[in-house]
């Protein structure tokens, strides 16, 4: 069966939404899949809503625009409000529970809540919240492997940012682990 | 004692310029969040404020709405 995963990553500007999306696309490309990455920004230069559409597929991708996402990685509340009603049945929402304590109303989608920002702070860098959630997504959906994501980090974190590779790798692992635990506790 | 610097917290973008130019250092960025997600500035020492208006002059967002000086009551 052909696999095509349509993922939306959404938060506010500065939460690393775009980096997470590009990283997922880069990893998909590395695994020889078809990928598209389409960013959307709010009108403000700083502090606006930001989300991106990422598609990873076994076949050539027609439209890069996602109307009804299969998966959504949600970093703040306005993003949940925006995308929850659009989710495909059976799809999955991965939530940054630190910022969004409330429940998801839809009963026909799977939910994985991760206290990502708190974990990120414990790791020593609030900015890796995005990768904790991306790690969780990769673990649950197997769109790309955690290993490929780690390899792909090197494309983005170069020069002065190279020293951030390690903590980002850790974030992916911890995210994957947290997702496993969360799902086990629900089973 | 009435406040000498009136802040419109909704307009403040926490740029910190008023805090920086204040000669008496009586302004600070507060812990509160305004609806835009910025932490607005506040006057924390009204007595020490000399009503120089530097904060008003430098504020790019008309968030320092008014600067006033107490009128000395004539004896």
């Amino acid at each position: 069966m052909i696999m095509e995963k349509q993922v939306i990553i959404s938060g506010f500007g500065g939460q690393g939404v775009m980096l997470a999306g590009e990283l997922l696309a880069e990893a998909g490309k590395t695994e020889d899949k078809f990928v598209t990455f389409l960013p959307s920004y709010g009108p403000e230069m700083r502090g606006g809503t930001a989300y991106c559409d990422v598609i990873v597929s076994d076949k050539a991708i027609a439209s890069p625009v996602i109307s009804f996402p299969w998966a959504a990685i949600i970093l703040n509340l306005p993003s949940l409000n925006k995308f929850e009603p659009l989710m495909k049945k059976g799809g999955i929402i991965i939530l940054n529970k630190t910022v969004i304590p409330q429940d998801v109303k839809r009963k026909d989608v799977r939910v994985c809540k991760i206290d990502a920002q708190t974990i990120a702070e414990e790791l020593g860098n609030e900015k890796v919240t995005n990768l904790i959630l991306l790690g969780a997504y990769a673990e649950l959906e197997k769109t790309v492997s955690i290993e490929t994501l780690k390899k792909s980090l090197k494309v983005f974190l170069t020069g002065r940012k190279e020293k951030l590779i390690q903590i980002n790798e850790k974030a992916l692992d911890i995210g994957a682990e947290a997702a496993k635990k969360y799902m086990a506790s629900r089973a | 004692m009435e406040t000498r610097v009136i802040v419109n917290e909704e307009r403040c973008k926490s740029c910190n310029l008023c805090v920086e130019v204040c000669p008496k250092k009586v302004l600070r960025i507060s812990d509160r969040l305004n609806p835009k997600g910025y932490r607005p500035v506040e006057l924390f020492d009204n007595e020490a404020c000399i009503s120089c208006g530097f904060c008003y002059l430098i504020c790019p967002d008309a968030a320092i709405v008014e600067v006033r000086r107490p009128v000395k009551a004539k004896a």
């Binding site: - | 430098i58 320092i64 709405v65």
Partner: protein
């Protein structure tokens, strides 16, 4: 309590779209104060062309038109010539005025159009993400001068007031800076003179305001004002460059 400073009525309640610490808002407030003080608000038309201040009409409470990029002085000419009793201001950035709109600016000045030009110079194209502008300093890195502006490849920073001061049309030309309370008070003084030039029907006036762009300069607001003092003002010195007879 005695009120010493108060946000003028000509400044609207609408929060600005500018980045935190961007001095555009200071320039707006000065204009608003003068319109109030000189009782000009009701007869004013402001021409807002393309740049970060493209939405200026939301922030200053006067009649307004949106000009194409660079064409503010031409549009202002059309308004002023057909309605000489109106008070016409253009509010332009350095990309708008000194690059694409330099011809319109020079010729409006040479014709002695009875308009006031407020020219905000922050050394780059802020709205489009920080490209090199005609006023970018030598050595300054921007998104289209990634190796720093170099004279041989990109020429030299353009000094508009100095250029306009040598032609006969303009009556009042000045440069001020928005980096400190002291300079902001001076800027208001200059702009007031410029406004009076039009009120007294003397001719063309322009005030350049040296400004900053914390976002694209990749600095904090304080650092960006510091940069104005240390690096920009030595290249763009403040002061009055042309004050014709009769300017009050």
């Amino acid at each position: 309590m005695k009120t010493l400073y108060k946000v003028p009525g000509a400044v609207t309640d609408c929060p600005t779209t500018y980045c935190p610490g961007c001095p555009h808002g200071v320039a707006h407030r000065i204009i608003g104060e003068l319109l109030d003080e000189m009782q000009l608000t009701r007869k004013t038309v402001i021409v807002w062309p393309v740049g970060c201040s493209v939405f200026g009409y939301y922030f200053i409470d006067t009649d307004a038109v949106e000009a194409a990029h660079g064409r503010a002085c031409a549009m202002a000419t059309g308004i002023k010539r057909t309605h000489p009793e109106s008070f016409v201001i253009t509010y332009q950035g350095d990309g708008d005025l000194a690059s694409i709109g330099i011809a319109e600016t020079i010729h409006a000045a040479a014709r002695g159009e009875r308009i006031c030009v407020i020219y905000v110079n922050n050394g780059n194209y802020g709205m489009t993400g920080g490209q090199m502008a005609p006023t970018t300093l030598l050595g300054q890195v921007t998104t289209t001068s990634p190796y720093g502006r170099e004279a041989h490849a990109n020429g030299f920073p353009l000094k508009v007031p100095e250029m306009l001061a040598v032609i006969d049309g303009p009556v009042y030309i000045a440069r001020a800076s928005l980096d400190s309370p002291k300079h902001i008070i001076q800027a208001k003084k200059f702009i007031k003179k410029a406004f009076k030039v039009q009120v007294n029907d003397l001719g063309f006036s322009l005030v350049e305001l040296i400004s900053s762009c914390p976002t694209n300069w990749k600095m904090t607001p304080e650092e960006s004002l510091e940069r104005i003092r240390k690096q920009v003002l030595p290249v763009f010195p403040i002061g009055e460059l042309k004050v014709d007879e009769g300017v009050a």
